[in-house]
Chain length 227, copies 2
């Protein structure tokens, strides 16, 4: 049985070493700032997680997940994303409201509960933010994706997920009227000011990197690569 806190550590390590980086290990300081605690606290905790065979760690070394730790962390993320989906689809919460609630719901541990919830939601593959939901074995398919900022002028791309889940960001996304799976045309780029003009459903918007660095897309190349 893992504590609430241990689960949060594993979740953060999964995020830092699987979802947000190709590096499969992370330093104590980075982990501390992700969890919003001091490095000293992390030092102690990773020792404990190492003793429980959830992470690999040696003094002054980096932290990486064992198979067991990876699975536990993935299950926390599975629960989080399924609850987010429930809150949005069944209880009509908006997508900027679901994160904080899911942060609490994710720690309720019961395989049966989460699998029933999965079934109740019709086995969704993606949550409302477009992020993939790990399956009951803790496995996940991470689709090939790029940032909107990597798209070229003239590209027609599809929004598949948002990277920034803060309320401000999601509110802006709502305001300009985008939903997951919408098409965007890259009309032009102003490299001097780092601005991009995009066309969404016929309307033009001028956006900065604050936007383009936080939208995941699939580009035509990838769509082609599939057939």
């Amino acid at each position: 049985m893992l504590s609430f806190t241990e689960e949060n550590y594993l979740k953060s390590i999964v995020q830092l070493t699987i979802f947000e980086s190709t590096e499969r290990e992370v330093g104590v300081n980075k982990l501390a700032s992700c969890l919003d605690v001091k490095p000293a606290t992390v030092s102690d905790m990773v020792k404990k997680l190492n003793a429980k065979k959830l992470v690999n760690y040696k003094k002054y070394g980096k932290v990486s997940l064992t198979k067991k730790g990876r699975k536990s962390g993935m299950m926390v993320i599975r629960r989080h994303r399924l609850w987010e989906t429930f809150l949005q689809i069944k209880l009509n919460f908006s997508w900027d409201e679901v994160h904080d609630l899911a942060e609490e719901l994710e720690h309720i541990y019961s395989e049966k509960l989460i699998n029933r919830l999965d079934e109740f939601l019709d086995f969704p593959s993606f949550d409302p933010h477009g992020d993939a939901i790990p399956n009951a074995d803790g496995e996940i398919f991470i689709p090939f994706r790029k940032l909107l900022s990597e798209a070229k002028v003239g590209d027609i791309v599809k929004i598949i997920a948002v990277k920034d889940n803060t309320k401000e960001f999601l509110n802006y996304v709502d305001k300009i009227g985008i939903v997951i799976n919408d098409k965007i045309i890259i009309e032009s780029k102003d490299n001097f000011n780092s601005l991009t003009t995009i066309n969404i459903k016929g309307k033009l918007h001028v956006v900065s990197p604050r936007f383009t660095d936080n939208i995941f897309i699939v580009s035509p190349k990838f769509e082609k690569a599939k057939d």
Copy 2:
């Protein structure tokens, strides 16, 4: 903001002083055994709850709820019973499985969440065990009810709730095929052996006080009193 633990104390005090007794105060020892902790622990905690104006308490005195404490405790019970209803109605859990999960879900604090859940379930008045669900203001209507053991031979009574929520009890109730709102006829009583013969849907069952002391009923008298 109340801690998980403080909420459990308030919930137990509500149960002991509102649902399970007409006494509006409870002693430290009784509260301790209800919470499965030592009296010394309760002594400390009620001091803390008193300082927070959630209970009334003086050294060597009994514990009672303030208005604020009563409302907080009621809200925990509201959340518990709504989640139980959700698990049983929407996720198809059996009624002996829902309690432990609801015990965790009840501590997720968000008025919006719980009111949305209430709406999603169509504003139920009773949970699957037949217990009344407090409303959004923490108020509750406790119907007049008796124990099955108080019924007289010849009475035709209606089961409205179960008192004992342990798995063993609920399994037995399932086994003999009763559901909430079923009618029971009291066929005979054997006072020497403390046994009661009851008729449920045409079938006779001989039951001991272990059963009759844990089933809540409304008797014909009460039904009459209403018109």
